[in-house]
């Protein structure tokens, strides 16, 4: 009977103990859930705050852009004023002076300035209109950003309220749970005291001795010494005696150097005497009494016939081209004097230029109505020269 009663108490203790453990884990789970929710709210609040900051920055940028655009508009207005002022100055400067051709020229300048001024003003006004449209669009963007920021702020407030509710709930749960937990712990402890008599003890651990680091031996550097090979000096002891050898050869052949020299001098002297004894040439008498006649003959004798013929032909050609150029009031020589000996191009390339009579003749013969029109404005000489240049370049 007695034994059976103890078993009942143990069963009851078991039931209470299980209940206490279940209650603890349930409450722990609830607290964990609340913490998770709080974390989620914190994250959501952080992201909403970031979003608000981004929108606020974008709105600030828009505001700055509008300020810039307004400054631009001011500058454009200033430009319009300047253009109009310049035009007024031109009108003042050119309308007072001169007569005839000068007056016509100045009228043209004033008219051209007016057209420029009108164009510039129109351009500026178009730019102002464009900027004003842009400002309006950006203002709309600012309104949109402001609305989004307001919505985000309101959402943020709501989230914060919810968060504070959960925080309060969590505090309440923690407070309540601390007293409940004590009771539950008492129940489980009592059960454990009755049930268990002995307790396990934890094992001891001995710390391992620290490993000794292997000592590194310093590397020994080997020193090498190079030995230079010794050079052996050679000496040439032989000496040539050229003079001695030559003397030996003379002795063998029976040649006498002094005697040879003497004979050569005598022979030279003999030849001089022979030439001295010859009669002198008579001075030539000139057959030309007139010196100009002589120079003409000299010229004729010295000049190559073919070259002269060529010169004559060239002169004829020059005469022909000059007669062709006469209506244009110029000559071949004059045109030639205007040109350089090379044409240079922007690329740095340069080609030699030589205008022949034939080139000019070709150019004169190829004059077109366009050339004649050109001649009226810039003149015939440069028009002809340009034509020669184009022909030489292969453009015509």
């Amino acid at each position: 009977m007695e034994r059976f009663g103890i078993n009942d108490i143990f069963n009851e203790l078991e039931i209470f103990g299980d209940f206490a453990n279940n209650a603890k884990s349930t409450i722990d789970g609830i607290i964990e859930d609340i913490n998770e929710t709080i974390n989620k709210y914190n994250e959501s609040i952080k992201s909403t705050e970031n979003e608000i900051t981004e929108n606020e920055e974008a709105r600030e940028k828009c505001k700055k852009e509008i300020i810039k655009m307004k400054d631009n508009i001011k500058q454009i207005h200033q430009s319009i004023e300047n253009v109009q002022k310049t035009y007024k100055n031109i009108v003042d400067a050119y309308s007072k002076t001169s007569e005839g051709e000068t007056k016509d020229l100045y009228s043209e300048i004033i008219e051209s300035a007016r057209i420029n001024c009108d164009d510039e003003v129109e351009k500026c006004e178009r730019e102002i209109n464009r900027l004003e449209d842009d400002i309006e669009a950006i203002n709309n963007n600012i309104i949109d950003f402001t609305n989004v920021i307001e919505q985000l702020n309101s959402s943020l407030d709501k989230q914060r309220i919810e968060l504070s509710k959960f925080n309060k709930g969590l505090d309440y749960m923690k407070n309540q749970y601390s007293s409940i937990r004590r009771d539950l712990d008492n129940i489980t402890n009592r059960k454990d005291i009755i049930k268990h008599v002995t307790r396990d003890t934890s094992s001891l651990t001995t710390p391992k001795p620290p490993k000794e680091k292997p000592k590194k031996e310093p590397k020994k550097e080997k020193e090498f010494k190079e030995e230079k090979p010794k050079k052996e000096e050679k000496h040439d002891d032989k000496k040539n005696s050229f003079e001695d050898s030559l003397k030996q050869i003379y002795d063998l052949t029976g040649y006498n150097k002094e005697k040879e020299k003497k004979e050569a001098l005598e022979s030279e002297k003999h030849l001089e005497d022979v030439f001295k004894s010859q009669p002198k040439e008579e001075e030539s008498k000139s057959v030309f009494e007139d010196s100009s006649e002589l120079s003409e003959w000299e010229r004729m004798l010295n000049t190559n016939y073919e070259e002269e013929q060529k010169e004559e032909k060239k002169d004829e050609k020059v005469d022909v081209v000059n007669s062709l150029l006469k209506p244009y009031g110029t000559t071949y020589e004059k045109l030639k004097s205007y040109t350089s000996d090379k044409i240079e191009y922007k690329s740095g390339r340069s080609i030699p230029f030589e205008m022949s009579v034939e080139d000019l003749t070709k150019a004169v013969n190829a004059i077109s109505s366009i050339d004649l029109k050109q001649m009226k404005t810039v003149g015939p000489e440069i028009t002809l020269l340009r034509k020669v240049k184009l022909m030489k370049e292969g453009s015509l």
């Binding site: 016509d104 191009y345 230029f353």
Partner: protein
Amino acid sequence: MEYLLSFGLTNEDLEKIKSRVDDETYSDLTLFKNIVIKNIEYLKEFGVENYTQVIIKYPEIFLRDEGSFKNIFSKFDREDLINKCMKNVAVIKKMVEFVDNN
């Protein structure tokens, strides 16, 4: 175009001219240098003190016959033209265009 250096232009000015004109005008300026020289000398004698500015800005106007070039200047009031040119060299270009078109 180095001959323009003798009129007081700098190498930098020559580069400016090179960048402003087309290839044909550039080659004309190198080939017909004696025409250009005569016209520049006339402009100088005429009294245009800032003639180098005219060369730099409108080198193509010097590519015309000496007679044709002088004719342009003979049509206008000398003193007034010089004054205007001192203020703005563009007046020379306008003047040339005016004569060519009328």
